[in-house]
C-alpha cells in the first residue's frame, strides 16, 4: 500500500519538483498551490501525510488550512513547511495538531525522514483504530478475547 502525500505550496517550481522527487521515491504524491485546493483534494481522496506551507498568499494561509484539514481528516498527519519568520506560527500549528515542522529551505532527506515518521505515527494510529474496530466487531456477551 503506497503512502499518499499531498503537498501544498504556492511556489510552483518547488511544488512540481518536490512532487516528482517524492513520486520517484514511490510515494503517491499530489501537489496543489493553495489551501482551498487542498481542501477540495482531501474530500476526493484520503491522504496519509500532508506537507503544508505556512505562508501562502490569498485568502487562506497555512494555519487556516490546517484547522480545516484537521476537522475534515483528523487522522491525516500534517507537516508544516516554514521560514524563519514563521517559526512561532509553526509552534502554534503544532498546538493545533500538526505533526512537526520543517525549516525552509528543507533538505530532501530531512523531509523524507519527517514524512516517514509522520506516516509511522499515522500507521500506528490506524492500527489502533483497526484493533479497536475488531474488538468491537468480535465482542460478544460471555466471551473474552485476549487483548493482543
Amino acid at each position: 500500500m503506497e503512502i499518499k502525500v499531498l503537498v501544498v505550496d504556492d511556489e510552483i517550481d518547488f511544488l512540481e519538483t518536490i512532487v516528482k522527487r517524492l513520486e520517484k521515491k514511490g510515494l503517491h504524491t499530489v501537489g496543489v498551490t493553495s489551501g482551498e485546493d487542498a481542501l477540495i483534494k482531501i474530500q476526493e481522496k484520503y491522504y496519509d501525510v500532508i506537507l503544508l506551507d505556512i505562508k501562502m498568499p490569498g485568502g487562506m494561509d497555512g494555519l487556516d488550512a490546517l484547522k480545516e484539514i484537521k476537522s475534515k481528516q483528523p487522522l491525516a498527519e500534517v507537516i508544516l513547511l516554514t521560514g524563519h519568520g514563521t517559526v512561532e506560527s509553526s509552534v502554534e500549528g503544532m498546538r493545533l495538531g500538526a505533526f512537526d515542522y520543517v525549516l525552509k529551505p528543507a533538505k530532501f532527506e530531512e523531509l523524507c525522514e519527517k514524512i516517514a515518521q509522520a506516516y509511522m505515527k499515522k500507521a500506528d494510529q490506524d492500527n489502533k483504530i483497526r484493533k479497536a474496530n475488531i474488538q468491537q466487531l468480535l465482542r460478544f456477551p460471555g466471551r473474552v478475547f485476549d487483548q493482543d
Binding site: E11, D13, F14, T17, I18, K20, R21, K24, G83, H84, G85, K104, P105, A106, K107, F108
Partner: protein
C-alpha cells in the same frame, strides 16, 4: 556646541556673574556712604550752630560788659571830674585792668561835640564831632556802638559811646575798642584748616578780618546778610572752585552785626581718595576673591555642561547606532526571505537532478562525473547561502527574551560540552574557574547559550591549533562577570573597533558570516548587560560579559 562657543559662553557667564556681584555691592556702598555723609553734614551744621551761638554770646557779653561799665561810670561821675585827664586815665586803666584790656582810648566830649579830655595813643583833643553821625546818634539814643570805621586816626576801629548828664549839661564818655582783641574773640569760633569766623555789618562790610577770604576790615565781604534770619541760621553755598561751604550766622550787638562762621563741608568727610593702604588692600583682596570665585565656579559649571553635552552626544550616537541596527535588521530579514525561496527551489531542483542521475543510462554517460561534481558544488553553495540567510534571520529576529532563572555556570558547562570534541581535535585545553557562590539570575537561557557558543567558537577559531581557553565566572556588587580568555592570535586595533558590526568578519568566506558577534552584542544588550573585548595582536583575547544580578525596569519593559 563647539569649543569657541563654550569660550564665549564662559566669558558671558563670568561678565554677568561679576556684574550681578558688583552692581548691588556698589549701590550698597554708595548708599551707606551717602547716609554717612548726610549724618556727617548734619553733625557739622549742629557743631557750627553751637559754636556760632557760643561765640556770639561771648561777643555780646564783651560789648555789654563795656557798655555797662561806661554807662555806670558816666552816670556816677561828672563832666568836671572826668575832664581832668588824670581822672580819665585812672578810669581807663581801671577798666582795662579789670576787664583784661580791650579799650584803646577813652575820651570825654561835651554836648557841642568838642573833645575835652582824651586818654590814648592818639592826640585827639580839640577835634569836634558835631558833624559825625555817631555823635548825633549818641545824643539821641543815650548809648551807641558804632560800626568799624576809619575816623580821624585813619585806623579801623569802633567805639562805644554813652551819654551822661549833670548840672553842666550833657556829655559823652566815649571808648574806642581794640579791634584786635575783639577779632581774637571772633577767631575762637574758627575750626579746622578751612574754618573761618568774622563779623559783617548789616551792609555786608567786614567788621573783623576774614581768615580765608583775605578780606581786611571794612572791605565788602561779598555776603548778603539778609539771607540770615533772626536766630542762628545755617546757609549752604557752593563756590566756583567746587567747595561746599557752610555758613552759620547769628546777629549780635543788637542785631547790628552778624557773626559768620564758615567751614568747608567736605574738610573732614572721608573721601575714597583718602583710603588707607590696608583698606585698599582689603578691598583688592575681596575683589580678587570675587573674581577668582566667579572664574572658578563658572569654569566648573561650563566644564560640567560640556561633559553633559558630550554624554548626550554619545547617547545620541548610541541611539542612532541602535536605529541603524534595527533598520539593518529589517532589511536583513527581507533579503533573507527573498533569497530563501529561490534557494529552496535551487536545492530541490538540484536534488531532482541527482535523483535522475542515479538512473542507469545517466550513470553510463561520459560526463556523469562532471554532472555529479557540478551538482555537488551547487548543493554545497546552496547550503552555504542557506547558512548566511539563517544567520541573517537570527540577527534580524526581534524575539523578546524569555526570562527564567538561569544558572550561568550551568549554561557555560553545557556550552563547553558542545565544543569539547571540537576542542580536543584541535588540541585546545579548556580551563574553567567557576565561582560556585554566584546566584541564579533572571535571563534567557537559550540566548545566553548562543552568546557563549559564539564567543567560545571564535576563541577556538582564533587559536586554530594548540592553546588554552579559560572561562571564569565571578560577581561584584551589582553584576555577574564572565571572562572568556584565549591564547589565540589576538585582534588588531583596527579590527577591534568593528568586531561587533554586522557582516564584519576576518574569517574565510566559507567559515563565517560576520553576524556571530553582532548577534551576541544585541542579545547581551537586550538582557541588560554589556560585552567588552580586550585584545592585543599575538597575545590573545579576553571577552568580558557583564550581566545584571537584578533586571532593571528597562530590560523588563
Amino acid at each position: 556646541m563647539s569649543k569657541p562657543m563654550y569660550r564665549v559662553f564662559r566669558q558671558r557667564m563670568i561678565v554677568i556673574t561679576l556684574l550681578i556681584s558688583f552692581v548691588p555691592l556698589t549701590l550698597l556702598g554708595y548708599t551707606i556712604y551717602y547716609g554717612f555723609a548726610k549724618a556727617y553734614c548734619q553733625r557739622v551744621e549742629q557743631q557750627m550752630t553751637a559754636r556760632v551761638t557760643a561765640c556770639s554770646q561771648s561777643l555780646d557779653l564783651f560789648l555789654e560788659e563795656r557798655k555797662v561799665i561806661l554807662s555806670a561810670t558816666a552816670k556816677s561821675g561828672s563832666l568836671a571830674y572826668y575832664n581832668d585827664p588824670s581822672h580819665l586815665r585812672e578810669l581807663f586803666e581801671t577798666i582795662n585792668n579789670q576787664t583784661g584790656g580791650g579799650l584803646v582810648d577813652l575820651g570825654v566830649i561835651d554836648s557841642r561835640g568838642d573833645h575835652l579830655a582824651y586818654v590814648g595813643p592818639y592826640s585827639l583833643e580839640g577835634f569836634n564831632y558835631r558833624e559825625q553821625a555817631w555823635f548825633n546818634l549818641v545824643m539821641a539814643k543815650g548809648i551807641y556802638v558804632s560800626d568799624v570805621y576809619m575816623g580821624f586816626r585813619q585806623m579801623p576801629h569802633f567805639v562805644i559811646a554813652v551819654k551822661a548828664g549833670d548840672a553842666a549839661g550833657d556829655w559823652i564818655l566815649r571808648a574806642t575798642i581794640d579791634p584786635e582783641i575783639f577779632a581774637r574773640i571772633v577767631t575762637t569760633a574758627q575750626t579746622g584748616k578751612t574754618g573761618d569766623a568774622f563779623i559783617i555789618n548789616s551792609a555786608g562790610i567786614c567788621q573783623s578780618p576774614s581768615r580765608f577770604n583775605k578780606k581786611e576790615i571794612l572791605a565788602p565781604s561779598g555776603m548778603d546778610p539778609s539771607r540770615f534770619g533772626s536766630s542762628t541760621t545755617v546757609v549752604k553755598k557752593t563756590t566756583q572752585s567746587g567747595l561746599r561751604l557752610v555758613h552759620a550766622g547769628k546777629w549780635i550787638n543788637n542785631d547790628n552785626w552778624l557773626l559768620v562762621v564758615t567751614q568747608d563741608m567736605d574738610e573732614n568727610l572721608p573721601s575714597f581718595s583718602d583710603m588707607k593702604t590696608e583698606e585698599i588692600t582689603i578691598f583688592l583682596i575681596a575683589l580678587l576673591a570675587i573674581v577668582v570665585t566667579t572664574v572658578v565656579t563658572t569654569g566648573m559649571s561650563v566644564n560640567k555642561l560640556q561633559e553633559r553635552d558630550r554624554e548626550l552626544e554619545e547617547l545620541n550616537a548610541h541611539l542612532i547606532q541602535t536605529d541603524k541596527m534595527a533598520a539593518l535588521g529589517k532589511m536583513a530579514a527581507g533579503v533573507a526571505h527573498e533569497i530563501n525561496n529561490p534557494l529552496g527551489i535551487i536545492a530541490t531542483k538540484a536534488g531532482w537532478m541527482r535523483d535522475l542521475l542515479e538512473e542507469e543510462e545517466f550513470r553510463k554517460s561520459d560526463n556523469f562525473k562532471e554532472y555529479d561534481e557540478a551538482l555537488q558544488k551547487i548543493e554545497e553553495h546552496v547550503e552555504r547561502a542557506g547558512k548566511v540567510t539563517h544567520n541573517m534571520l537570527g540577527f534580524a529576529r526581534s524575539m523578546e527574551p524569555v526570562m527564567e532563572r538561569v544558572n550561568i555556570n550551568g549554561v557555560l558547562k553545557k556550552t563547553l560540552e558542545f565544543l569539547d570534541h571540537h576542542a580536543q581535535i584541535n588540541n585546545i585545553r579548556i580551563n574553567t574557574g567557576f565561582d560556585d557562590a554566584i546566584p541564579e539570575i533572571m535571563s534567557d537561557r537559550s540566548q545566553l547559550q548562543q552568546v557563549f557558543l559564539n564567543i567560545i567558537n571564535n576563541a577556538v577559531d582564533a587559536i586554530e591549533k594548540q592553546g588554552t581557553i579559560t572561562v571564569q565566572t565571578g560577581k561584584n556588587a551589582e553584576n555577574l562577570v564572565i571572562d572568556i580568555k584565549d591564547t589565540g592570535k589576538g585582534i588588531p586595533d583596527t579590527v577591534k573597533k568593528r568586531i561587533f558590526d554586522p557582516f564584519f568578519t576576518t574569517k574565510a568566506a566559507e567559515k563565517g558570516t560576520g553576524l556571530g558577534l553582532s548577534i551576541t552584542y544585541r542579545i547581551i544588550e537586550k538582557l541588560g548587560g554589556t560585552i567588552k573585548v580586550k585584545s592585543r595582536k599575538g597575545q590573545g583575547t579576553c571577552f568580558t560579559v557583564v550581566l545584571p544580578l537584578t533586571l532593571s525596569k528597562k530590560t523588563i519593559a
